[in-house]
Symmetry: C2
Subunit: 210 residues, 2 copies
DNA sequence: CTCAAGTCTGTAACTTGTTCTAGATTAGCG
DNA sequence: CGCTAATCTAGAACAAGTTACAGACTTGAG
């Protein structure tokens, strides 16, 4: 997980001064707050700038587009969630159960701020190539969370593929729920369904399972 | 499949005249052509209107937003694909194999027009509640294609969940590839991985499998 | 402390999705 | 044919993301 740890904060290109760090934080907070209130559309760059007390140009210097801003916001929120989850690891005996439990816990957290979730997830899937590095960071964070729940220290390629599929399902199911096309019950079932892949790809699946 | 058949063309609220049908078609073609050239950003409403030879206001009367337009474009393209696929059904013995083959065939079709694929898929996942009915139609079409490949006439709830998970994976993997964050090989592996769920949820999985 | 380089501010301008309006055209009906 | 309602056109206007720029402020080197 060293790669993730290093991405825990900025790639440290130019080390930000204290005031810059503070500005960045104010911007991210403003973004999350506006998003929580009115979703993607409510995060208007002029308003974010004003709420954060910076000029519009400065906002763009920190985050080169609205999408970058929202993806960074998601990074931020995911980090919180990761730390929270680590404090209370899932209890299930089965890796599949633990992952499903973890994801449903995350899901319930997002349910509390559906508008914020909407803004972040929409930004994530709408992101084009210019945001790839940032989206990748989010993806690595999510992977780390899932692998943590699985308890897989040295995942096999098969497991990694399963984790990717789980991530795909997770994002897409979230979107489907957020746009009102699926119920929470359906999301739960689908998460449980996809988590079955974990047993299927466990390294000892063919031997120790019997 | 009656529901899908009925959606084969417009929900027939007011039956369009011939000239209106022609306008609609010109608009969809213009949209697909612009998208194929430059992706999501190249589909600019003024340009679509001009290329289709209609006024901007008319374009908006037919498709109330750019997202609606692109989702309708996707509907259109999917319909083509469905008919094409029906002519040459996948050959595998296993339902899982057939679905994977079908999806990879669709994938290769999209590869030929990556920009068009980008525009359509981005629109699809970016769509908000106001586009739900249209997105749902696309989803039903996709489901029909997958069920066709499975050969499942009367899918169980478990199978339906598996199909949903496959769809999630399909969209999300497509996005990941389109934004350059995953290779084609990876997409292939992930599609094959998720298709394993089909065996897992087959009605006779617990009995006839032995 | 002083100065140059880099940042930040405030503001205007530009782009593209969307809405609105007034007048021309078309479609269907008697 | 002649009329009326619906539709279409051209073009202006508005909204929000993005860019540009001139001048003020900070920062770090000497």
């Amino acid at each position: 997980m060293t790669a993730v740890d290093r991405a825990d904060h900025r790639p440290a290109s130019p080390p930000l001064t204290e005031r810059q760090e503070a500005r960045r934080r104010r911007i991210l907070n403003a973004s999350a707050q506006l998003a929580a209130r009115g979703g993607f559309d409510a995060v208007q760059m002029r308003e974010v700038a004003e709420a954060a007390g910076v000029a519009l140009g400065t906002l763009y210097r920190y985050f080169p587009s609205k999408i970058h801003l929202l993806v960074a916001t998601m990074q931020d929120q995911l980090q919180h969630m990761h730390t929270t989850l680590r404090k209370r690891p899932p209890a299930g005996a089965d890796p599949a159960q633990r992952v499903a439990e973890t994801l449903m816990r995350a899901f319930r957290a997002l349910q509390r701020e559906p508008q914020l979730a909407d803004a972040m997830v929409r930004a994530l899937t709408f992101a084009d190539r210019s945001v790839s590095p940032e989206v990748d960071t989010v993806s690595r964070l999510t992977t780390a969370i899932i692998l943590d729940a699985m308890g897989a220290e040295h995942p096999t390629p098969g497991q990694l593929s399963a984790v990717r599929v789980i991530e795909h399902t997770w994002h897409s199911a979230l979107i489907t729920w957020l746009s009102g096309r699926a119920s929470i019950a359906q999301v739960k079932i689908d998460i449980e369904t996809v988590c079955r892949l974990i047993d299927l790809t466990a390294p000892e699946a063919s031997e120790a399972r019997a």
